[in-house]
């Protein structure tokens, strides 16, 4: 926590010296002035492009606005909006629908499975790469490759690889005597497929982050443990895992958020199909908003619900971390 030293007003001691001396107060303001100026571009862009749409979205979610009753301008004619305030009707309609619970269930399964596999495989590979091994940087570059390919390109590749008739995965299965699997046309295998594709995409990030984390653990700890006769498992359990905690807590939180909202993979690989079986909350909400008559209020309500779920999760997670002694 080197950061707090730089300027006297660390979070824990906000009032230090402020009341005593007007000179100091002036200096504190000038410090804050710099900080604010440096944050200003980000804050302004975010407030305008995220904050405003959010506020407007929350408002819309409390109305019955659709494409039909939304105000618009056609040529010279201005058609006023005719939608009305309906309170929480959109939310109750969504939460009580069977679709919401089944989508939520699959989204949770999808998120947990993906993040667990990302983390497990990423940690395993990072530990292999952290050993002195010939060709280490070549391996690292090859393993990072999936991250270098734009997601929509990856999605196209995988749709082609998993094609039931012409896909190379099935061709290889047939070549060794198995029947092909209808990867993208069977509800169960479609789910397996999207999880597989997302794991392929996400492991490089986890691997690099955890590799850096491993390299930051002081070597002396391992040497001391070895001298004391600790087994490899004990060293992993008592040095590696605690040493990785700061990295892990951040990448797991970010990974969970990204996976929960992972739009392109599902939208481009299975299009949510077959029959909506691989649809997660985000893709389902998008479909609600952009297919048929655009239901602005409904999609806004979905968006607010998804965001609320994530915020609750992040708050709970941060609180758990803080209880475990990690300040932020």
């Amino acid at each position: 926590m080197t950061a707090q030293v730089a300027d006297g007003t660390a979070a824990g001691t906000p009032a230090r010296g402020r009341a005593r001396d007007p000179m100091r107060r002036g200096r504190a303001y000038s410090r804050h002035w710099y900080a604010w100026a440096m944050c200003a571009p980000v804050v302004i862009v975010t407030l305008v492009l995220v904050g405003y749409p959010l506020v407007r979205g929350i408002y819309l979610s409390l109305t019955d606005a659709t494409e039909a009753n939304m105000g618009r301008t056609i040529g010279m004619n201005v058609i006023p909006s005719t939608y009305e305030f309906v309170g929480l009707a959109n939310y109750t309609a969504i939460v009580t629908s069977a679709e919401f619970l089944s989508r939520l269930g699959w989204t949770v399964v999808w998120t947990v499975a993906c993040v667990a596999l990302h983390y497990g495989l990423g940690l395993g590979l990072a530990m292999l790469l952290n050993r002195p091994v010939r060709l280490r940087s070549l391996y690292r570059m090859l393993l990072v490759l999936p991250w270098a390919v734009p997601v929509f390109v990856s999605a196209f590749i995988w749709r082609y690889l998993l094609n039931g008739e012409f896909g190379v995965v099935n061709a290889m299965l047939r070549a060794v005597g198995f029947a092909g699997v209808t990867w993208l046309d069977d509800p169960f295998w479609a789910k397996v497929s999207v999880i597989g594709v997302n794991v392929w995409l996400g492991v490089p990030f986890m691997m690099l982050a955890l590799l850096g984390g491993l390299q930051a653990i002081p070597r002396e700890l391992y040497e001391a443990a070895e001298v004391d006769g600790a087994s490899p498992w004990q060293r992993f359990r008592h040095i590696t895992l605690p040493g990785l905690r700061p990295v892990s807590s951040t990448v797991v939180l970010l990974g969970t958020i990204w996976t929960f909202n992972q739009f392109p993979v599902i939208f481009l690989v299975t299009k949510g199909g077959p029959g909506g079986s691989s649809e997660i909350l985000v893709t389902y909400a998008y479909r609600q908003a952009f297919e048929g008559i655009r239901n602005y209020s409904g999609s806004a309500a979905w968006g607010v619900l998804i965001l609320a779920l994530l915020v609750v999760m992040a708050v709970v997670y941060r609180r758990a971390l803080r209880r475990a002694g990690e300040a932020w």
Binding site: T9, V45, G213, F263, A289, A300
Partner: protein, 288 residues
């Protein structure tokens, strides 16, 4: 501390048993193949004749030809889309790095009223489902006259790239000793001068990662580009590519060739920064 030197000597490559070495390499090779195969298959398909993808057997090579590339480059608007994508990605990268570095520095070094709110804002902005924001942002940009304009697209990309980069840069700056700032201040530099002249040059790995992330965000984004760009001459690659995928039949020959052309520059940028990637990224993650 006397025992440290021999202990270090036991952890070298030469003392690992032969079996362990074989297993280690086998695991890494299998993982590398899994990572490499889809990309390699894409490249192989792109140099096959146009209809060769409709083959039910595995063939590595099948009368290789560059016909797909020639067609993509000469008979489609691909070069135009490429230029558009480069322009948008370059603007996003430059602005994204500048904005995230200054914000990251501010939240790393100063404790000011609003610090916590900004940290939360950076985190929560990551949670926004892009699909949901499209309609309101579209209306907003339309009001500003920025629809079908590159600046509008760049601004939209900044909202997704900058929060993550700033978050990561904060972590990176946290690892740069505060003594350097103090020395700069003693020598009479302003806060901004310290940041610009002392800290930024020390933070190249972190900046490289931020640049990479911003570039990839702009280079590979589909949803905003589809919604905001309406003219064929304003499409980016990600949107243009969608034109090769028909409702029922995809032109896999053209699709794979253009995918290779799209992925190659991204991979190139990636290779340029990957040396810094681990340091930059982890420093970000460890202290965030």
């Amino acid at each position: 501390m006397v025992s440290v030197a021999p202990a270090r000597a036991t952890r070298t490559r030469s003392t690992r048993s032969r079996g362990a070495s074989v297993a280690l390499h086998a695991a890494l090779i299998v993982a590398s193949l899994v990572a490499l195969f889809p990309v390699a298959w894409l490249v192989l398909t792109s140099i096959k004749p146009r209809d060769a993808w409709q083959s039910t057997t595995v063939q590595l090579f099948d009368s290789p030809t560059l016909a797909n590339y020639v067609q993509v480059l000469t008979q489609t608007a691909f070069p135009r889309w490429l230029f558009n994508s480069l322009l948008v990605a370059a603007l996003t990268t430059v602005l994204g790095v500048v904005m995230s570095a200054s914000t990251g520095y501010a939240v790393s070094r100063f404790r000011f009223p609003g610090f916590r709110s900004i940290m939360w804002m950076l985190l929560i902005t990551q949670m926004f489902p892009v699909a949901i924001l499209i309609v309101p942002i579209y209306n907003l940009l339309a009001g500003l006259g920025l629809i079908n304009q590159f600046p509008g697209l760049v601004i939209a990309y900044l909202t997704s790239a900058v929060p993550f980069c700033a978050w990561m840069m904060k972590g990176y700056f946290d690892t740069v000793p505060v003594e350097i700032d103090e020395a700069g201040r003693v020598d009479g530099l302003t806060h901004f001068g310290t940041f610009w002249r002392l800290i930024l040059p020390l933070s190249k790995p972190g900046l490289a990662v931020a640049a990479f992330y911003s570039f990839i965000t702009a280079w590979a984004e589909v949803a905003y580009a589809t919604a905001f760009m309406t003219g064929d001459d304003k499409y980016t690659l990600a949107v243009g590519l969608g034109q090769f995928v028909g409702q029922h039949k995809a032109e896999w020959g053209l699709l794979t060739a253009s995918s290779v052309l799209i992925a190659a520059p991204a991979a190139l940028v990636f290779l340029l920064v990957q040396r810094h990637l681990v340091t930059g990224l982890t420093a970000g993650a460890t202290k965030a």
